[in-house]
């Protein structure tokens, strides 16, 4: 295994130093190492995404485990959690093992499958959660993402059941009866555009219910893609009471607002929908404060024909792996400790993922990424490594360029390009 010296690198914004990588770990020395000039570059622990859609099996025209892994590595990630809403659904040990194996074969990031909570995401009957937990994939996070586990009794059972193997339920918080036919955030803009509204309360009501359920049964709850100021308040109160709840926010909900729907271009259609500027403000504050624990991409690739159509007929979702860190940098600035915490350490901790999100200390696995914070990049959809092009940032200038990523000491990205 080759060795590297990252010469003059700034670890989390600290003074320039040399970082040695040897035998897959951070080392105190590395004789005969390949020298990488890392002057001006910032080293972060490899990013960990708790919410990625890799689309394989089923929609390989939109993304595969391999293309999604490459996009992730280029975005500075060393581990991604693949959502279960594939076709077939990842609701059995067989499917999660398949996804896990495809991830290993691609070898660009650690692909950790998320298992479905209910069979076929249908919200009727628990999937074999234990079988997925004990499979080779070692599933710990379960989610029906794309759908809410709306039945309160089923949600209670799921929260309880996974305690046996330290699992966690990641809820897509959306009261389905309040969002029938919903197309965008319910508010002034939806009224103007004549698009059916997705009211904030549909998210907040489920989070409020679920934190009470989690409190009642003493289980862990993770809330996916929090999008409203009201949800932040519910989470703040729950955390103050000691409820074991964690939450994520997407980069797009930290930056974009519902006004973008005015073009009727479905590249801005996403679920939960883009909200208002005051929601964006509250989400940023909550992320800084820690009421929201992590940034997760909700990377959702879609084929061209699923976006190049009328708004109402388009699928919701945006790709995000390759732009997540630049977006977060533009929102938070160069607060490297905070970024490392919200995008690497805490997500790894929530998922119980050892070997990721660790400090770049001697002996730690060399999972890290190098960022050039002075670079600026105009997002060009054609340049994305993802198989899909549905980025809402086309033409936007974002700060930061991911120069290199290492997975257990092996470079997956060098000079801003994927190694394989």
């Amino acid at each position: 295994m080759s060795s590297f010296v990252l010469r003059g690198v700034s670890v989390l914004g600290g003074a320039p130093t040399d970082l040695f990588i040897r035998d897959g770990v951070i080392s105190s020395e590395a004789p005969d190492a390949e020298i990488i000039d890392a002057a001006g570059l910032v080293a972060l622990p490899g990013l960990v995404d708790l919410h990625t859609h890799l689309r394989e099996p089923g929609r390989e025209d939109a993304e595969t485990v391999e293309t999604g892994s490459r996009a992730a590595a280029l975005g500075g990630y060393t581990a991604v959690f693949a959502m279960a809403n594939t076709s077939p659904v990842a609701d059995t040990a067989g499917v999660v093992e398949q996804v896990w194996r495809l991830g290993r074969e691609a070898g660009l990031v650690d692909v950790q499958p998320i298992g479905a909570v209910t069979v076929g995401l249908a919200g009727k009957q628990l999937a074999e959660l234990g079988a997925m937990a004990t499979s080779a994939a070692g599933v710990r996070i379960f989610s029906d993402d794309g759908f809410c586990v709306a039945d309160p009794r089923l949600m209670r059972r799921a929260l309880e059941y996974v305690k046996a193997f330290d699992g966690i339920i990641a809820q897509h918080a959306e009261e389905p009866r309040l969002t029938e036919g919903a197309q965008m955030h319910e508010g002034e803009v939806s009224t103007r555009l004549g698009l059916t509204g997705w009211p904030a309360v549909a998210e907040e009501a489920i989070i409020a219910r679920d934190v009470l359920l989690a409190e009642h049964v003493g289980s862990r709850l993770h809330v996916c893609h929090v999008s409203t100021a009201g949800s932040v308040e519910v989470l703040r109160q729950a955390k103050a009471r000691g409820v074991r709840v964690t939450a994520e926010v997407t980069p797009h909900h930290l930056l974009l607002t519902d006004e973008l729907a005015a073009s009727y271009d479905p590249v801005f259609k996403v679920n939960p929908p883009l909200r208002t500027a005051s929601d964006v403000h509250a989400l940023r504050e909550a992320l800084i404060e820690g009421v929201i624990d992590v940034v997760a991409t909700d990377h959702a690739p879609h084929a061209v024909e699923d976006k190049e159509c009328e708004w109402a007929y388009a699928r919701p979702g945006m790709v995000g792996l390759e732009t997540a860190l630049p977006v977060v940098l533009s929102v938070l600035g160069e607060r490297w400790e905070l970024i490392a915490d919200r995008m690497s350490r805490t997500p790894a901790k929530i998922a119980g993922l050892t070997g990721h999100g660790t400090d770049l200390a001697v002996g730690s696995p060399a999972n890290l990424t190098l960022v050039d914070p002075s670079a600026r990049r105009v997002v060009d959809p054609a340049e994305l490594a993802s198989r899909s092009r549905n980025t809402p940032y086309a033409g936007t200038t974002l700060p930061g360029r991911i120069v290199a990523t290492f997975l257990r000491g092996v470079p997956t990205v060098l000079d801003g390009k994927a190694v394989k």
Partner: protein, 307 residues
Amino acid sequence: MIKHLRSAADLDAATATLILDTAGEMAALAGREVKKLPTLRGRTVVNLFYEDSTRTRISFEAAAKRLSADVINFSAKGSSVSKGESLKDTALTLQAMGADAVVIRHPASGAPHRLAQWVDGSVVNAGDGTHEHPTQALLDAYTMRSRLGKLDGLNVAIVGDVLHSRVARSNLLLLTTLGASVTLVGPPTLIPLDVAAALSPSAKVSYDLDSVLPDMDVVMMLRVQTERMQDSYFPSAREYSRRYGLDLARMRKMPEHAIVMHPGPMNRGMEITPEVADSSRSTIVEQVANGVSARMAVLYLLLGGKA
């Protein structure tokens, strides 16, 4: 002149007034023996209809033909998400055929905006989902002006299912632009929460039809679909018409000069009684006639015709 008419918000007061004035000239033509102008000879207008709407389609067809345009009717109706030809592919086809204007009726809000991104010609919104129907607003404004002599300062009530009504949205925008004062009336379930902030800061909202009628110059009744009942927007058709339907007793509360409008098709006995619909205050048939003149004016001006 603007290129597309996708929303009533595309029209400023000057442009809207020009369209109404032009519609007046077009209406004068209807009284002549030969009802045709040569203005759009050699130009192609496509009526692209994804929804059944015979009245709107024939209104546009008559308008284009009276301007001597070649008219192609393209009925693309099918289930909304049926995997037929995509809107984009249809747009490219129309583009290749050299359509100078595409009149589109579509069940999805914003479809005209998407279409305008894919064709070079003018796009006229003939009703998109629950968004807008700007030519309806123009013909309504034209009708009000013809009957009442002005628009500025008029008090207009729009009554019914504002939430799902493209007619209400376009009327609210256009009437505000032209100086009228609009009051939206209906059960709270059918009035969008942020409607004034979204569309017209001067708009008023009332849940009590009886209290607003004495101050109105125009009462515009919207079609209420009985399906809304299943969705619990209101408890029953009977209760709806008792609270928000326009009958003779209510019509008598309106000032003497005030008119009753309805974009059609009506649910007689639901939002409006037959006695009111057929009364001399009702402009419902006039609205249909004015529709052709207003649409002639729109096509004429968008396509840059010269008299």
